[in-house]
């Protein structure tokens, strides 16, 4: 069925793939020690100088890949949250996943700070557990007997939990050592800190498990985004699928946030822009949303690195700078 959405999808998909490649190339070559664009391919082929090889393989490449994966995961989680709660304002940050993951990471960090390198594989797990605990609580609190989970209530309770957990973070920080506090506060503003290969290896299994399952569920997501009565009529087992998909979203966002720091708004913006471009069928807008999420985070980080010569501005701040007005725009338009 070649309709307008199919055609648009092909065009946008190619366009966003190109944009993504451009973002990756910029992300690799720009920054404090620059690596000229023309030198990237030779360096990959092993013809670069020692410095070029170091910058590419040890500094930029892992960072850019982690950013891309992080942005992709946040966009995926945002898509799931928005479709399952049938609310365009849902986002892993808004709904309390970031806060939950933050508490997980903080507790883990405070216990293991001296040997962090050794435990790096457990970091996504710690964040996941924190986020899962939070989302489970949110789910239970928005559960109404006989009616299941009320999606709108889920968002409201989520916002409440996010605030409460931020308070808990402050409490944890006030009891911690100075160096630890610095790390945690950097994490909170979304300072990409896990920029070495081990962090990438720690992240990868989560993606290998979650992403195929997510694509397997696109059809269910389509139906879940409809009114409840329609979804039941079409034969979706609401509670089972909702729990499974929320679990997926928490695993993706939680593990990503563990490495990238608390980044909001990507999960909000990416699916929303994609939906506006090619309609609400997940087969089409999910791949685009993932590309947008990855591109956005890579670009935000690159901007953060080149804006000031003396320091790096956290990518989370740059994203928030674009995302917050977008969020307000959405709020006004949704009235």
């Amino acid at each position: 069925m070649a309709n307008t959405h199919t055609k648009k999808f092909r065009i946008w998909f190619i366009l966003f793939c190109l944009l993504f490649v451009v973002a990756i190339v910029c992300g690799i070559s720009m920054g404090a020690s620059s690596l000229s664009i023309t030198r990237i391919v030779p360096t990959i082929l092993g013809q670069g100088s020692f410095k070029e090889e170091f910058v590419l393989f040890s500094v930029r490449l892992p960072r850019v890949i982690i950013l891309a994966l992080g942005g992709l995961a946040l966009a995926a989680a945002g898509t799931i949250f928005q479709s399952v709660t049938r609310n365009d304002l849902a986002d892993p940050g808004v709904i309390g996943v970031n806060a939950g993951a933050g508490v997980g990471v903080t507790v883990f960090y405070l216990f293991a700070n001296t040997n962090l390198q050794q435990y790096v594989f457990m970091l996504p797990a710690a964040a996941f557990l924190g986020a899962l605990l939070t989302v489970s609580c949110i789910y239970l609190f928005s559960f109404e007997k006989g009616q299941g989970v009320q999606p709108f209530k889920l968002v409201l309770v989520g916002v409440g939990f996010a605030t409460a957990l931020s308070g808990l973070m402050v409490l944890l920080m006030s009891t911690a050592e100075r160096a630890d506090v610095q790390f945690i506060s950097k994490w909170l503003v979304g300072n990409i800190w896990g920029t070495d290969w081990p962090y990438l290896w720690a992240l990868l299994p989560w993606f290998i498990l979650c992403l195929p399952l997510l694509f397997y569920k696109v059809n269910v997501l389509n139906i879940l985004a409809m009114k409840e009565s329609t979804a039941i009529g079409l034969g979706v087992n609401l509670n089972k699928e909702r729990i499974l998909l929320l679990f997926l979203a928490v695993a993706l966002a939680g593990s990503a946030v563990a490495v990238t720091g608390a980044i909001s708004f990507i999960g909000l913006m990416a699916p929303h822009i994609a939906k506006k471009l090619i309609g609400p069928r997940h087969q089409y807008f999910l791949p685009i949303a993932l590309l947008i999420g990855a591109t956005l985070l890579v670009i935000a980080d690159t901007i953060g690195r080149i804006l000031l010569t003396s320091a790096t501005i956290p990518a989370g701040l740059i994203v928030a700078f674009i995302g917050a007005p977008y969020f307000i725009f959405l709020l006004i338009r949704n009235k």
Binding site: M1, N3, T4, Y216, V218, G233, G235, K275
Partner: protein, 262 residues
């Protein structure tokens, strides 16, 4: 009869909306539920189609309690068109209709040849083929309703439930929808169960009518048995004059007054 409702009781919180209703839905017929606002007719429809839970009793399809059946399997047996369907959020007509194939799909949701055939047929029969590439929300109310019916048809079920399918439509479009359902019933042998507000439409298009009042089943039978002065008095608290439709020969409420006092 394939679909039986046995002593079903439905309530919200402490309040009972449907009181122990038992009935059988005749196969291959059009059945209409009528009743005053708040009498529980929509609630009954939702309970039969598992959209809301019932407190006691059971709904039996082919000898099996539908609560024990897998919801996806049940979706291949009965389709539901909810009251005043939602916004399609930018979906195209053929995309929305393709959602009707969900119960037959696995995984990524590529459409099989059979899926495509059913979608084409549903578009054709509902007269929505010409705007299959348009956005659902850009259509008129009557067109949109036919698209939603097409989605239910794509589900390829023998039984179709519709909750007030004519609400918000003008007279011509109301008739268009009812004629479509009539045609599906006669030509395709589909069993149709719906809630209607208009008594004369119910009388004209139904083989079987269920009259509800305050959550109780007052009368069930052919239009001639249900659309009577006596039943309408009990169900709607009106004093109605019943005649015959000069064209269809079906019973018809010619005029009515409210019954004052007791």
């Amino acid at each position: 009869m394939r679909l039986q409702v046995e002593d079903i009781r439905v309530g919200y919180d402490e309040q009972t909306i449907v009181h122990d209703i038992s009935m059988a839905i005749p196969d291959g017929k059009i059945t209409t539920i009528i009743g005053a606002n708040g009498c529980g007719k929509s609630t009954l429809l939702k309970a039969i189609t598992r959209i809301i839970n019932h407190e006691s009793g059971q709904v039996v399809l082919d000898g099996k309690n539908i609560r024990k059946m897998k919801t996806k399997e049940l979706a291949t047996q009965l389709a539901i068109l909810p009251q005043s369907p939602e916004s399609a959020q930018g979906l195209l007509v053929e995309e929305l209709v393709s959602y009707g194939r969900f119960p037959y799909q696995k995984g990524f949701g590529n459409l099989s040849a059979k899926d495509k055939e059913m979608i084409d047929w549903a578009l054709e029969v509902t007269g929505t083929k010409d705007f299959r590439h348009k956005a659902v929300d850009a259509l008129s109310g009557g067109q949109r309703q036919r698209v939603w019916i097409a989605m239910a048809l794509a589900q390829e079920t023998d039984i179709i439930f519709l909750d007030e399918p004519t609400t918000y439509l003008d007279m011509a479009h109301q008739l268009e929808v009812l004629e479509l359902l009539h045609m599906l019933n006669v030509q395709e042998g589909r069993t149709i169960v719906m809630v209607l507000h208009d008594l004369n439409q119910a009388a004209r298009f139904s083989d079987y009518i269920l009259a509800l009042s305050h959550g109780h089943l007052i009368r069930a039978g052919e239009p001639e048995e249900v659309i009577t002065t006596e039943v309408l008095k009990e169900v709607f608290n009106i004093d109605a004059v019943i005649g015959k439709d000069p064209r269809t020969n079906k019973p018809m409420c010619l005029t009515y007054d409210l019954i004052k006092g007791e």
